[in-house]
C-alpha cells in the first residue's frame, strides 16, 4: 500500500474481486490499520470504492488546516472525534462549519492551542452538537465567562479540559457546573481566575466527577470539603495549590473513599499531620504524588503506612532523610513504582534498606541521586529483578562496573536512562540482554563507543528511542548497527556526536518509522545525508539540524518533496538560504520553525517563505528581522495563527563534547 499509483478508471465490464467483499469486512480490515494514519490514506487512494469506504469508516480526524474543513467534513460524514489541535487558527467560522456538518455525530472535539474562536462559535458548536461528551479547550486564554456560559449548554459533556483558560472566573465555571451535570473529568489546571467558589459549585453540582485537576488554582480548605463529598472521585490533582494545608486534608478525611490517585506536588503546606488523615479515609488510594513537598521524614512515612493498596509513590524533589527511606521500607505494602528523582539526601543506606523490602518494584526513578554508589545499584538489581524502568540520570558516583549488574540482573527492563553516567561498553554489552528494551538514553556517556552500541543494535530489536546526545565516542559504525538491528526506531538523538557523517544518515534512512531526528552540531553531515533521510523516513515530523553547517538548500529540496509530515524543523546555523527556505515552505503541515543565524537569509526570502507556509504556528527568528520584515506581513501572519518568538542570541561557536563535559563538571 506504500506505493500510491494513480488508478485507471475502472471500466464497467471489468470484474473487481473487491466487489465480493462486503463493506463490513473491509471496515473490519480497516480497523486493523488504526496505528498509522498514512496507511489509511494509502488505502483510500487505491480506488474510488476504497475511497468511499474509507470515508465512511473514519471516525476521527486530525486536520492540519481549518480552511479545508468544509471539504473534509463532507468527505468523512461518520467522524465523531475531531482533533483541531494542529490547526493554527480555529475561528468562529470554522466552528460554525463543524457544527453544521457534524451535528449530532460529533462526540469529541479538541480545540486546544487555538485562541481565535469566541463564545459565539462555541455556542454554535455546542448547540448543534448535542452529543458532545468531550471538549478540550486548553490554552483558550482569551475565552471569558461568556464562553464558559456557552459551553454550559453542552448538557451531555463528560470530559472537559480548560487548562490555562486564565480568563474564566468562578462565574463562568459556575455556569459550567450548573449546565454540565454529567461531567466526569474536569481539568482546571492553571485557570488562575477560578477560586473556591467555582470549584465548590462544581463539587456540589457535578456529582459524577471522577477526575479533577485543580493544579495551581488559588483554592483553600473551603472547596476541599465539598470536593470530599464527591462520591466517585478517583483522581484528584492538587499540584501547586498553595492554599491547601493539613486542615484541608482533614476535611478530606470525611469522604473521598473512592480516591485512587492523589497528586499534591508542590503543596508546601502539607505535612505528615495532614497526610496521616489520608490513611483513615482513602482506603483504595493507589498512587500518591508528593513531589516537591515537605521533607520525607519517618513521620511522613509512618503516616502513609496504613495505605494498604498503595502501589506508586512519587517523592520527586523532596528532602529525604535516611530514616525516612527506611521507614518507607517498613511499609507492609510492596510498591510497584517509586520515584526519588532529584531527592536530596538519598544515600546508599536509605535506598538499600528501601529496595530490599520493596522487591516488587517495576519502576524506579533515582535521577540525580548523586550520593549513591555501586552499593545501591547492587541492592537494586539484586532485589528488584522485575524492574521495567530504571531512570538514573547523573548518578555520578556510580562506577562503570555497576552498570554491568543492571544488564545481568534486570532483564525485563524496557526503559533505561543512564544519561550522564560512567557506563561503558561492557555495561552496554550486558544491557543488550534486555531484549524488550524500547527506550535507551545514553546522553553524555563519554565512555561508550561503537562497540557497545553494536551490542545494543544486535540484541535490542524493540528499541524505539535512542538518545546519544553528546556521546562523542559514537560514530557511523555504531549508528549503522542500530539502524540495522532496530528497524522500529522512532526517535534518535545524535546531537553533538561530531564524528557522525552522512553514512549514519544513510543508514538511519532505513528506519522507516523514524519520526524524530536530532543531529545538532554534526558538522560532517551534508545535504546528501539529509536527502537520504528525507526519502527513507517518510514519517519524519521533527527534524533538528541546527549547527550542521554543511547542510544547504540542496538538502531542503528533497525534504520538501519527500517529507510531507514534517511539522517542526530547526535550521539555525545551517547554510540554508532563501531558496531552501522557500522550497521548505511547500510542506503544508509545517508548524514550527527555528531560523536563527542563517547567513544566506534575506528579509524578502524569509517573508515570502513565511507567507507561503500557511500552517505555521510558531517561528523563532532573530530580533533583527523584526524591523526588516514589513509590519503588515507580520500582522497578517499573526492573524493567521502564527506566534513569533524573537531571539537575540549571539553567534555561538561549538565546543568539543569533552570540553563541554569538562565545563559541566566544573560547574558543580
Amino acid at each position: 500500500m506504500g506505493t500510491m499509483k494513480k488508478q485507471k478508471p475502472i471500466s464497467e465490464s471489468y470484474f473487481n474481486p473487491f466487489d465480493l467483499l462486503s463493506e463490513e469486512i473491509v471496515f473490519s480490515i480497516l480497523d486493523c490499520l488504526s496505528d498509522n494514519p498514512l496507511d489509511k490514506k494509502a488505502f483510500s487512494l487505491v480506488c474510488k470504492t476504497f475511497y468511499a469506504i474509507e470515508s465512511h469508516h473514519r471516525k476521527s480526524l486530525k486536520p492540519l488546516r481549518s480552511e479545508h474543513l468544509t471539504k473534509i467534513l463532507s468527505r468523512f460524514p461518520q467522524v465523531t472525534h475531531l482533533d483541531l489541535s494542529l490547526c493554527p487558527r480555529i475561528t468562529d467560522g470554522s466552528l460554525t462549519v463543524i457544527a453544521s456538518f457534524c451535528k449530532e455525530m460529533l462526540r469529541s472535539i479538541n480545540l486546544s492551542r487555538s485562541r481565535f474562536f469566541t463564545h459565539v462559535g462555541l455556542s454554535n458548536l455546542v448547540m448543534n452538537c448535542g452529543n458532545l461528551v468531550e471538549i478540550d479547550l486548553s490554552n483558550a486564554t482569551e475565552l471569558k465567562d461568556v464562553g464558559a456560559a456557552a459551553l454550559a449548554e453542552a448538557k451531555n459533556l463528560e470530559r472537559l479540559w480548560l487548562v490555562r483558560c486564565k480568563s474564566i472566573t468562578d462565574i463562568g465555571l459556575g455556569c459550567i457546573a450548573v449546565g454540565c451535570r454529567k461531567l466526569r473529568l474536569l481539568s482546571l489546571r492553571w485557570c488562575l481566575g477560578v477560586g473556591d467558589l467555582g470549584v465548590g459549585l462544581i463539587a456540589v453540582k457535578c456529582k459524577e466527577i471522577r477526575t479533577l485537576d485543580l493544579s495551581y488554582l488559588p483554592i483553600t480548605n473551603e472547596c476541599l470539603s465539598s470536593i470530599s463529598k464527591l462520591q466517585y472521585l478517583e483522581d484528584l490533582v492538587l499540584e501547586g495549590c498553595y492554599g491547601i494545608d493539613d486542615d484541608s486534608l482533614a476535611s478530606l478525611e470525611q469522604g473521598c473513599r473512592s480516591l485512587k490517585t492523589l497528586d499534591m506536588s508542590s503543596c508546601q503546606n502539607v505535612s505528615h499531620v495532614g497526610l496521616s488523615c489520608l490513611t483513615s479515609c482513602s482506603g483504595c488510594l493507589r498512587q500518591l504524588i508528593l513531589a516537591y513537598g515537605s521533607p520525607v521524614t519517618p513521620a511522613v512515612a509512618d503516616s502513609l503506612q496504613k495505605l494498604s493498596r498503595l502501589q506508586s509513590v512519587k517523592l520527586d524533589g523532596c528532602q529525604v532523610t535516611c530514616s525516612g527511606l527506611k521507614a518507607i521500607g517498613n511499609w507492609c505494602v510492596s510498591l510497584k513504582e517509586l520515584s526519588l528523582s532529584k531527592c536530596l539526601g538519598v544515600t546508599d543506606e536509605g535506598l538499600c534498606s528501601l529496595v530490599t523490602k520493596h522487591k516488587d518494584l517495576r519502576k524506579l526513578d533515582i535521577t540525580c541521586c548523586r550520593k549513591i554508589t555501586h552499593v545501591s545499584i547492587s541492592h537494586i538489581t539484586n532485589s528488584c529483578a522485575s524492574l521495567t524502568s530504571l531512570r538514573m540520570e547523573s548518578c555520578t558516583l556510580v562506577p562503570r562496573e555497576a552498570f554491568v549488574l543492571i544488564g545481568q540482573r534486570c532483564q525485563y527492563l524496557e526503559e533505561l536512562d543512564v544519561t550522564d553516567n560512567e557506563i561503558d561498553d561492557e555495561g552496554l554489552k550486558t544491557i543488550s540482554k534486555c531484549a524488550s528494551l524500547s527506550s535507551l538514553k545514553l546522553g553524555i556517556c563519554l565512555n561508550i563507543t561503537d562497540q557497545g552500541l553494536t551490542h545494543i543494535g544486535m540484541c535490542c530489536s524493540n528499541l524505539k528511542e535512542l538518545d546519544l546526545y553528546r556521546s562523542a565516542g559514537i560514530s557511523d559504525l555504531g549508528i549503522l548497527a542500530i539502524a540495522r538491528g532496530c528497524t522500529g526506531l522512532e526517535m534518535i538523538n545524535i546531537a553533538y556526536c561530531n564524528h557522525i557523517t552522512d553514512g549514519s544518515f544513510i543508514s538511519i534512512s532505513k528506519c522507516s518509522k523514524l519520526n524524530t531526528l536530532e543531529s545538532r552540531g554534526c558538522p560532517l553531515i551534508t545535504s546528501l545525508g539529509l536527502a537520504a533521510v528525507a526519502v527513507g523516513c517518510k514519517q519524519l515530523t521533527t527534524l533538528d539540524i541546527k549547527k550542521c553547517h554543511n547542510i544547504d538548500d540542496a538538502g531542503m529540496i528533497p525534504l520538501a518533496h519527500f517529507s510531507p509530515n514534517l511539522k517542526q524543523i530547526n535550521l539555525s546555523y545551517t547554510s540554508v538560504t532563501d531558496v531552501g527556505l522557500l522550497s521548505l515552505s511547500s510542506i503544508s503541515g509545517l508548524q514550527n520553525m527555528t531560523i536563527l543565524h542563517l547567513k544566506g537569509l534575506s528579509p524578502g526570502g524569509l517573508g515570502a517563505a513565511l507567507l507561503a507556509c500557511g500552517g505555521l504556528t510558531k517561528v523563532k527568528l532573530q530580533t533583527s528581522f523584526k524591523s526588516l520584515l514589513p509590519q503588515p506581513l507580520l500582522q497578517h501572519l499573526e492573524a493567521r495563527g502564527c506566534v513569533f518568538q524573537w531571539r537575540e542570541k549571539p553567534f555561538q561557536a561549538e565546543v568539543d563534547p569533552i570540553c563541554w563535559k569538562y565545563q559541566l563538571d566544573n560547574l558543580e
Partner: protein
C-alpha cells in the same frame, strides 16, 4: 375610575393589610358581638382573584359591603369612624369612592380568612380578653377626648389651623398606641413563627400553591418565584403603606419580611445558653422605637446620649477626638457582675419572643432594636439610587447605598448579590439557577462595569424573569392586571396625596425622626412618584437580596 389600581389591590393582599383587618375584625367581634359575615367575604374574593374583568362587575355590587362595614364601624365606635371619615375627606380628590370601596371590600373579604387562621391555632382567650378590655378602656379615653374636641369646636367655631393640627396629632398618637396594642393582640392569634411564612404570603398559599414557594429558613431566600412574589408583595406594601398612612398610620408588623430579614448579625449570635441561665428582658415596642436624639452626621447612627455619639464620632477620624469626648469614660458593661441579660422581642409569635418554642434571645438592646425594626416594622427607607431596596433601619440603607449599583453578582433568576459567595450559595441551593455572566464582558471590557449599564441589564433580567413567573403564577395572579397596575402611575399617585401636616403626629412610627418629617417621607415619595413605568415593573418583579 382607575381599574388598574383597583384591581391591583386584589391579587395581593399583603400582611399589613391583613393586620389591619385583624384589628377591624377584632373590634367588630369584641365590641359589637358581630359574627363575621361570611357571605360578605367569600365570593368576591375568589372571583376577584380569578380575573380582573370580573372584578369590574363585582365591584359595584359590593358597595353594600362598604356600607355594611361602615355600619359596623358606627356601631362599634363613633369617634373612630368620625376620625376615619375626617381623614378620608382630607384626601385629595384623586381618591375616588370606587377605590375606597374596593379596599374596604378587600378588608371585608379577608376577615373570613383571618377567622380561619384563628380557628386553627391555639390561643389564650383569657389573655385576649384582658387585652381587649384594656383596649376598650383606652378607646373610651380617646372617645372622650374627641368628644371634648368636638364640643370645643362647636363652641369656638373656626379655630386656628395650629390647634387643629395639634389635636389631630394628639388623637393620632393615641390611636397609634391603640393600634399597636391591637396588633400585638392580633399577633397572638397568628400561628407561631413556623407558620409565619405561610401566613405571610396568604395570597400565594391560599389561592393555589405556586410552584417553588419554598421556605428559605436561611434568610438568603431566592428562587425565582418566591423572590418575585416578594417583590410583588413589596410593591403592595408600599401602596398599602400609603393607605394606612391615610387611614391613621398603622404600624405594620409584617411577618412577610421575616424570612428576608437582614439580621444576620442576630442569627450569628445564636448561642446555646441554657434557659434560665440568663435574665430575659423584653422592651416594649414604644421603647424600642423610641427616637434617638443624637445622630451621627456621617453615618446616621442614632444615640440616646450625646456621650455615646461623641464616643462614636471618634471612630470617624481624628478631628472628632476632642478631649471632652475622650475624657468621659465609656460605661463598661463588664463592671456589672449580674446575671447575663438577654432580650426578648415583644412581637408575639416571633422566634425572638420569649414565648416562642424555639426562643432565641437577642444579645443586646441594639440587637432588639435592629431586629424589631427590620423584622416587624415597615421598611420606610427606600434607596434613592435604585429605588428598589427598602430598609427599616437607616444604617442598613446607608450601608446599602454605599454598595448600591455595585451588586454585580447576578443570578439567572434575576436576583442580585453584593457578594460573590452569597451568589454561589444561592446557586448551590437552587436547581437550575446559573450565575449570569456580566454582559459587558461580551464587549470585552470585563471588570469595569458601568453602573447604569449594569443596572439596566439587571433590570432586563428581572423583567424577563418577571414575565416568566407571571405566566407561571396564573393561579394566583392575573398577569395582565398586574402589568396594568404596574405601568399605571396613578396607582402610585392617588394615595399619596396626603396632607403633610398629618405626619407630625407620626413620630412614634418606625421611622426615626432623623430628619424633617417631609424629608423622611421623601424616601417614600421618591420611591413611588418618580417611577417611570418600566421602573415600576422592575420594582414589582423582584427584590434584591444580600
Amino acid at each position: 375610575m382607575n381599574l388598574g389600581s383597583t384591581s391591583s389591590l386584589f391579587p395581593f393582599p399583603t400582611v399589613p393589610n391583613r393586620k389591619k383587618k385583624h384589628w377591624l375584625t377584632f373590634n367588630l367581634e369584641a365590641d359589637s358581638d358581630m359574627d363575621p359575615d361570611d357571605s360578605l367575604s367569600e365570593d368576591p374574593w375568589i372571583k376577584s382573584s380569578s380575573s380582573g374583568n370580573e372584578l369590574l362587575k363585582i365591584v359595584p355590587s359590593d358597595n353594600h359591603s362598604f356600607t355594611n362595614f361602615n355600619l359596623h364601624a358606627q356601631k362599634w365606635e363613633g369617634s373612630s369612624y368620625l376620625d376615619h371619615q375626617i381623614r378620608i375627606e382630607q384626601q385629595v380628590s384623586g381618591f375616588t369612592k370606587q377605590k375606597h370601596t374596593s379596599e374596604m371590600d378587600q378588608q371585608g373579604n379577608q376577615r373570613n380568612e383571618n377567622h380561619d387562621s384563628t380557628r386553627i391555632h391555639d390561643w389564650d382567650p383569657r389573655a385576649l380578653l384582658n387585652n381587649l378590655s384594656f383596649l376598650e378602656q383606652k378607646i373610651h379615653q380617646l372617645q372622650e377626648l374627641v368628644h371634648l374636641i368636638v364640643g370645643r369646636r362647636g363652641q369656638d367655631g373656626v379655630q386656628g389651623n395650629d390647634l387643629i393640627v395639634q389635636q389631630q396629632q394628639l388623637i393620632t398618637a393615641d390611636l397609634t398606641s391603640i393600634i399597636v396594642q391591637l396588633i400585638s393582640t392580633a399577633g397572638s392569634l397568628l400561628p407561631t413563627m413556623k407558620h409565619t411564612l405561610s401566613s405571610a404570603v396568604p395570597a400565594a398559599s391560599q389561592l393555589g400553591q405556586v410552584g417553588g414557594v419554598t421556605a428559605p429558613s436561611t434568610g438568603t431566600n431566592a428562587g425565582g418565584l418566591p423572590c418575585n412574589e416578594e417583590g410583588v408583595a413589596k410593591m403592595e406594601n408600599q401602596s398599602n403603606h400609603i393607605d394606612q398612612l391615610r387611614d391613621c398610620g398603622i404600624e405594620h408588623n409584617h411577618a412577610a419580611d421575616e424570612h428576608e430579614s437582614k439580621d444576620e448579625d442576630e442569627a450569628e449570635e445564636e448561642e446555646n445558653l441554657p434557659p434560665g441561665s440568663y435574665e430575659i428582658l423584653q422592651l416594649e415596642k414604644e421603647e424600642i422605637l423610641a427616637p434617638h436624639t443624637h445622630f451621627c452626621t456621617i453615618c446616621g447612627k442614632g444615640f440616646k446620649r450625646d456621650a455615646n455619639l461623641r464616643m462614636h464620632m471618634r471612630g470617624h477620624g481624628d478631628e472628632y477626638k476632642t478631649p471632652a469626648a475622650l475624657a468621659k469614660p465609656h460605661k463598661e458593661p463588664s463592671s456589672e457582675p449580674t446575671l447575663i441579660k438577654r432580650y426578648s422581642c415583644p412581637y408575639i409569635g416571633c422566634k425572638r419572643n420569649k414565648e416562642h418554642k424555639k426562643f432565641q434571645p437577642l444579645k443586646t438592646i441594639l440587637c432588639v432594636k435592629n431586629h424589631y425594626k427590620r423584622t416587624h416594622c415597615e421598611k420606610a427607607f427606600t434607596c434613592s439610587r435604585c429605588n428598589i431596596k427598602k430598609f427599616s433601619v437607616i444604617a442598613d440603607l446607608k450601608t446599602h447605598e454605599k454598595h448600591c449599583g455595585k451588586d454585580k453578582w447576578l443570578c439567572s433568576c434575576g436576583t442580585t448579590f453584593s457578594r460573590k459567595d452569597k451568589l454561589f450559595g444561592h446557586i448551590s441551593l437552587f436547581q437550575g439557577h446559573t450565575p449570569a455572566v456580566p454582559p459587558d464582558e461580551t464587549k470585552g471590557s470585563a471588570g469595569t462595569s458601568d453602573r447604569g449599564q449594569n443596572s439596566e441589564v439587571t433590570m432586563k433580567a428581572r423583567q424577563e424573569n418577571f414575565k416568566v413567573n407571571a405566566s407561571h403564577g396564573n393561579e394566583f395572579q392575573n398577569p395582565g392586571v398586574v402589568k396594568e397596575c404596574a405601568y399605571s402611575p396613578s396607582s402610585y399617585f392617588s394615595p399619596l396625596n396626603f396632607d403633610t401636616s398629618n405626619l407630625n403626629g407620626f413620630q412614634e412610627f418606625p421611622r426615626p425622626p432623623f430628619d424633617e418629617s417631609d424629608s423622611s417621607f421623601s424616601f417614600l415619595l421618591s420611591g413611588s412618584c418618580e417611577y417611570p413605568p418600566h421602573k415600576a415593573a422592575k420594582y414589582m418583579s423582584s427584590t434584591e437580596m444580600e
